[in-house]
């Protein structure tokens, strides 16, 4: 199968690559090495440029005002937009916009008016509340937050952890158990307003990712109207699962983008750095590291584009997405590690982005389902059965 981009895709990729290098890199020269935000006027200027490129709102379906860009092209763009210091978790500092909470595209008309459209206009922000202290890899069983029907409302009690953006959000999509006997068939998805009495953002969860923290949430008899049930009662797991599968492709593409940039840096440095009278690039030990990097990069690239192509054709892509996520997150971790080794002491300083990528890439092997869960997903498909 040939994954060479079409002429149009190549033009878009080139345009985005120049945007990253000419607009984003200079900004980062002045920012704190761990920064995940740019100044508002810089953000506005970046957005103005992506709008002019016709690429603002990537991931938003065209019928909701997004650009008509297919998923393969979006994936190629995601590989490019990650190629800067903050690129893994804040690609281009949000200059390309985004789909926000894609689950809301399936909301009813009333919910779209109250949440989806304001979110797309940038007036409201949302968070995705799935993971709990009891676990995140097996949401069907780990969800202990419960919701009990009380008249026209549901009363939610429990907690969530590692939730990004909840402290600054206006509302969240929250998964709670509504039937204790039914496992994955007993979970319901709710839209919870951030000012709901009984809903608290308790603390910041500090991790290796200093500039982009998670939070811990608490629900103490938080009353949510029945009108805020997203989808059907006890059918929330499908909503969560669909999101997890789709998200794996751009997640993997971000890992690959960072790996590509780390490899570029490693090659450039190896050519100019001399030891014992010769450039590092002439040393077989370094050459093999660079070759191993390239193998990891190309393997991940093929897997990611294979998944994106299947998704574009409307075919099942769960195994492909899981494989892409696993290969990209693990491969990119190795690439960044080798790039640091080639750079020596400078590789672990904050002068270079490698140390930040090294820290943040470690999270990528856990976030959106750890490598072990990706293997479970693939095994389940290979055996054509639910293993657990």
């Amino acid at each position: 199968m040939d994954f060479e981009p079409s002429e149009e895709q190549a033009l878009i990729v080139d345009q985005v690559r120049r945007f990253v290098r000419e607009e984003v890199w200079p900004l980062e020269a002045k920012l704190d090495p761990d920064a995940s935000h740019v100044e508002p006027e810089d953000h506005a200027r970046l957005v103005e440029k992506t709008r002019a490129m016709g690429l603002y709102g990537l991931g938003i379906p065209p019928e909701f005002g997004g650009p008509d860009v297919d998923i393969v092209t979006q994936t190629l763009i995601a590989i490019e937009t990650a190629q800067h210091r903050a690129g893994l978790y804040s690609p281009c500092y949000g200059a390309f916009g985004g789909a926000g909470l894609a689950q809301l595209y399936e909301a009813n008309e009333d919910q779209k008016e109250r949440y989806l459209f304001p979110m797309l206009r940038g007036e409201k922000r949302g968070f995705f509340g799935l993971t709990e202290p009891s676990g995140g890899s097996d949401p069907a069983r780990a969800i202990r937050t419960k919701a009990v029907r009380d008249g026209d409302a549901w009363v939610i009690t429990g907690s969530k952890i590692f939730i990004s953006g909840a402290d600054g959000a206006d509302f969240g999509i929250v998964f709670a158990r509504t039937d204790a006997e039914k496992g994955r068939g007993g979970i319901t998805c709710f839209i919870v307003d951030a000012d709901t009495p009984g809903f608290y953002v308790r603390r910041v969860v500090h991790t290796l990712r200093s500039g982009h923290y998670g939070t811990e949430l608490q629900f103490e008899d938080a009353r949510v109207p029945h009108a805020n049930v997203l989808g059907e009662v006890n059918r929330g797991f499908a909503i969560a699962n669909d999101r997890l599968t789709r998200q794996r492709i751009p997640y993997a593409a971000g890992c690959l983008g960072v790996a590509v940039r780390a490899q570029e840096m490693a090659i450039d440095y190896a050519k100019q750095r001399e030891t014992f009278g010769a450039a590092l690039s002439t040393r077989q030990a370094i050459q093999w590291m660079v070759v191993d990097n390239e193998i990891d990069i190309r393997t991940a690239r093929w897997a990611i584009l294979a998944a994106a192509c299947k998704a574009a054709r409307g075919e099942p892509f769960r195994t492909e997405a899981a494989m892409a996520k696993l290969l990209a997150s693990e491969g990119a971790s190795r690439v960044v590690d080798r790039a640091i080794q080639i750079h020596g002491g400078y590789g672990v300083t904050k002068d270079l982005p490698l140390e930040r990528w090294y820290r943040e890439m470690r999270i990528r092997r856990i976030g959106e389902g750890p490598s072990e869960v990706q293997r479970i997903v693939m095994a389940r498909d290979l055996f054509d059965q639910a293993l657990y």
């Binding site: 953002v201 603390r203 608490q218």
Partner: protein
């Protein structure tokens, strides 16, 4: 690490600052009554970490006291301290009103 920075205040003097490690971290500046006047961080671009930031604060005579916390997670800890202060006092310290231009999160610590 507690949610709030509750270490004892130290006088903002050249001697006290010189004794600080050149580490990354967060700090609070306080007035004579012990009220926080600014929360800040020493990030990866500072020359000598907390020491450099507090020397700058001393030069501007921003405060009379300070306290610090060394942490590699200075960005998230800085935002956490701002949010906790706002939750406790209803507003940000006066020295941070102009700094925080993007939307700050809401924290309701127990």
């Amino acid at each position: 690490m507690g949610l709030r920075l509750e270490k004892p205040w130290r006088p903002l003097t050249p001697e006290a600052i010189a004794a600080l490690p050149a580490e990354l971290g967060v700090f609070q500046l306080g007035d004579a009554a012990g009220a926080v006047v600014r929360i800040g961080y020493a990030g990866g671009r500072t020359l000598f970490g907390l020491r450099s930031e507090l020397e700058a604060a001393l030069a501007k005579q921003e405060a009379t006291k300070f306290r610090t916390e060394v942490t590699a997670q200075y960005m998230s800890r800085y935002e956490e301290l701002l949010m906790v202060h706002k939750a406790d006092h209803g507003q940000l310290p006066p020295g941070n009103a102009a700094d925080v231009r993007r939307r700050l999160g809401r924290l309701r610590p127990g």
